[in-house]
């Protein structure tokens, strides 16, 4: 009975989707918005990477929503997988050893490399592929590797939460600054500069820096929380 109901549901859903798909003019997408963005984005936002101009300038509120979703997901994952009070007291009592030589040496080698790669990806988000989300994940990986090597020397929770909160607040603050300046919320402000320069594209690099710090702090906090 249960299987029959599932089968009927699947058939009904398939019929619905096929019916919808049959009406679509496949292969004849007009692509009006995409074409317009490709033509106008470098001039309008000053960002050499068109993906960044879409993510932060044309669809800035979507990015804010994405940050909110990531925040909710990280919070819930930390809540669901949090150690019980019982396990916590047991962990506190047990002294935490450093990892073996290979992991420690590897982490000493990787940490500065990952840190500079992460900040490079974040700060060059408006010039080359990448940006706050990707660079933030690399930053989180850097801190997680060093945490794995030396569990006793973990970064302070207060510091992580502070960085995350300040980064999230400054993202919204830049959006509100655009609003106060007479534009729309999250509209790019500041001087656009020369296309392709590191300091260009107005407020987009600042927004990506905020995104990168927020994502990095959030994910390294989650990983450290899970690893405890």
């Amino acid at each position: 009975m249960h299987k029959l109901a599932s089968l009927l549901f699947a058939i009904g859903l398939a019929a619905l989707l096929i019916g919808l798909a049959a009406q679509l003019p496949l292969g004849m997408t007009p692509m009006v918005v995409g074409q317009a963005i490709l033509e106008q984005a470098p001039g309008e936002t000053g960002s050499a990477n068109i993906v960044t101009s879409v993510v932060l300038a044309y669809r800035g509120i979507d990015t804010l929503g994405e940050l909110a979703i990531l925040f909710a997901a990280a919070t819930v994952a930390g809540l669901v997988l949090a150690p019980s009070i019982h396990a916590e007291s047991r962990l506190r009592a047990k002294p935490r050893h450093d990892a073996g030589l290979v992991l420690r040496a590897g982490s000493d080698l990787l940490f500065p490399l990952l840190l500079s790669v992460g900040f490079y990806i974040v700060l060059h988000g408006h010039l080359t592929p990448g940006g706050g989300f990707q660079g933030g994940v690399v930053l989180a990986a850097a801190f997680f590797v060093s945490f794995l090597a030396r569990p006793a020397r973990q970064p302070s929770h207060v510091g992580i939460v502070l960085i995350e909160a300040l980064a999230g607040a400054s993202f919204i603050g830049i959006g509100l600054a655009a609003l106060l300046g007479g534009g729309a919320f999250l509209q790019p402000v500041l001087d656009k500069g020369t296309l392709g320069q590191l300091v260009s594209a107005g407020s987009l690099p600042l927004l990506y820096l905020a995104v990168g710090l927020k994502v990095g702090a959030e994910l390294s906090g989650l990983l450290a929380h899970l690893a405890e």
Binding site: N49, G100, P129, F133, Q134, V137, F144, L223, L226
Partner: protein, 88 residues
């Protein structure tokens, strides 16, 4: 040429994805799932989507494996913390 590279990548991805289902060792299954993401990021790079490839490599191949492993350990399904050399 590009089509052949893509075919090889897709074949390897399918193999790794089937391995995820059939491996008994959960750590190995997580590693196989990361391999799927890594090959997918190569495929994205091949399709001239470097932004997506970067995200897939960082999140799919790197972070999600760590989160899966830590989650499984927290649920008591695997023991990552087993120390072979306690005094090293």
């Amino acid at each position: 040429m590009t089509a052949w590279i893509a075919l090889v990548l897709v074949g390897l991805m399918l193999g790794a994805a089937v391995l995820v289902l059939y491996l008994d060792n959960l750590v190995a299954a997580i590693a196989a799932a990361s391999v799927v993401s890594l090959l997918l990021s190569l495929l994205f790079a091949l399709l001239a989507a470097p932004d997506v490839a970067l995200t897939e490599a960082a999140v799919g191949a790197g972070l999600s494996g760590a989160v899966l492993a830590l989650g499984l350990r927290r649920l008591g399904l695997i023991d990552l913390g087993k120390r072979e050399y306690p005094d090293a």
